[in-house]
Amino acid sequence: MNIVSALAGIVVKELYRRKDFYVLFVLTALMTLIMGSINFFHDKSIAGYLKEGCLWLIWISGLVIAIVTTARQIPAERENRTIFPLLAKPVTRNQVVLGKFGGCWFATGIALVVFYLFFTIVAGTRENQWPIVNYLQALWLQWMMLAIVIALALFGSIVFAAPSSNSTICFVVVIGILLVGGHLDQVALRQPEPLRSIVYAIYFLIPHLEWYDVRQLVFFEQGLVPWVACALATLYAALYSAMILLATWIVFRRKSLNL
């Protein structure tokens, strides 16, 4: 466990040494502030569009940080040949996978806390309301969703040759699931057999990341997600991440580390 947390610690340090997070945060803050400065009919209390815009930027930034940070972890170790002394410590390959996953997930969590803090301040000062629990729930669910995304990117970093191709494929898959994942059953109904069964199978196989997107509930002020549903979604994310991490370890333990 100590080895895993030490490995994770290195990844977290890497996040605050690199400029990705700062650039994305400044960009998000800047765009939100520009949006907030627009005057709509002399009413400064209009906040819906601002909250939606800011949350959209947070989601994009969260995905970029999670995927880009994770995709380069193992390839960078192999390229710099630091993977050999790392594994000679001795650190087992499953500890490397867990450490990298934990580090990326934790680092993304820290980034999300900073983003949501900014969002809370912007939304609160605009409309004089502080629904902290709603925001915490949105943050938690997004973080859980990112656990699956990080596990996927880690798996991709073992399977695909370059971090760039891995990142691109991960983005396409994740955005595809977010946009149409929840509607695949409706698409399946309109298809002839055997396409219908195939689409249905994909529908039940893919991780339903769209569940974790509760932005609408936040900016339409529609209340909290039931806590039981929240707990079940957390369990679902944990199981999916564990499954993908197990697959990553299975592929990684047979993988040659020479370039």
Partner: protein
């Protein structure tokens, strides 16, 4: 040498800029086009429609069918004619566009999205305004954006000067729009109580309607009826009963419920008849 080269390039850049700048102004039609118009061209219209729909989604607090749902967007535009909207009539029909949950994924997923049909109220209608304003920026010829925004600004958010200003902006872009003129007249009459201006604007709206819609296969009867009925009410309030009757007669010809208007016409005719008791005295 590199410094000389740099100076030469800088001079060239400056010269080309002074040559191109006056021409760049004429690339856009009037030299005053917005950045969006230059960047997006006619694609702005698609974006404008999307932003208008976005306002409708906000009005329904996010309860809105996607392209995957079998039901289309709400048939009657709640934003546009909330005044005439009778709660409950179509509500049930739209209430259930999601239908019964199809499977456990769909059923569980409903915990994380808006599943209740509600409308913005108690001043929260202002949340639709940014989308309408942006929609108007994208396509200044989308008339509904002006009339809908003005309706909410004037009637629910008590921002009459802003509503009037927005309609005037719309009129500048669409000088022949009878819908905008009608909406402007409504503000003059209902909010500003300026009867003369309201009459002038509504009469102009009627003239514009006749210029554009007469002879069409399917003329816009709804707006026509609204214009003449409001002109009729104005004249009735001002005591010009015979003029009011004339407008109501015109409205009756296109109204889906002519019997109500006929009743109003009969009442006015009765008032116009000389009182026999008064004549005897």
């Amino acid at each position: 040498m590199p410094y000389l080269l740099l100076t030469l390039l800088a001079t060239l850049c400056f010269s080309v800029a002074t040559y191109l700048q006056p021409q760049a102004a004429s690339w856009s039609q009037r030299g005053q086009d917005s950045v969006m118009k230059i960047l997006l061209g006619d694609g702005r219209r698609l974006l404008a429609n999307h932003l208008f729909t976005k306002a409708d989604i906000y009005f329904h607090s996010g309860y809105y069918p996607t392209i995957f749902d079998s039901a289309g967007p709400p048939k009657e535009n709640h934003m546009a004619d909330h005044e005439e909207h009778h709660e409950g009539e179509h509500e049930e029909e739209e209430e259930n566009f999601m239908g019964k949950s199809r499977d456990w994924v769909d059923s569980f997923g409903r915990n994380f999205k808006v599943t209740k049909h509600t409308h913005l109220e108690h001043g929260r209608e202002k949340e639709i305004l940014p989308w309408l304003k942006l929609s108007a920026e994208m396509d200044p010829h989308l008339i509904d954006t002006y009339t809908v925004a003005a309706y909410w600004l004037a009637n629910h958010l008590h921002k009459v000067p802003e509503a009037e200003q927005f309609l005037r902006d719309g009129l500048r872009e669409n000088p022949k729009s009878y819908e905008i003129l009608f909406a402007l007249g409504r503000i003059y009459y209902n909010q500003n109580h300026d009867t003369e201006r309201a009459r002038n604007v509504w009469e102009l709206a009627l003239r514009r309607w006749r210029e554009q819609e007469t002879g069409k296969k399917e003329p816009d009867k709804i707006v026509f009826e609204e214009i003449v009925v409001n002109l009729g009410r104005l004249e009735e309030d001002q005591g010009s009963l015979s003029v009011a009757i004339k407008y109501y007669e015109e409205a009756k010809a296109v109204s889906p419920a002519p019997q109500n208007l006929q009743k109003q016409i009969d009442d006015l005719k009765r008032k116009l008849e000389p009182n026999p008791q008064a004549a005897r005295q």
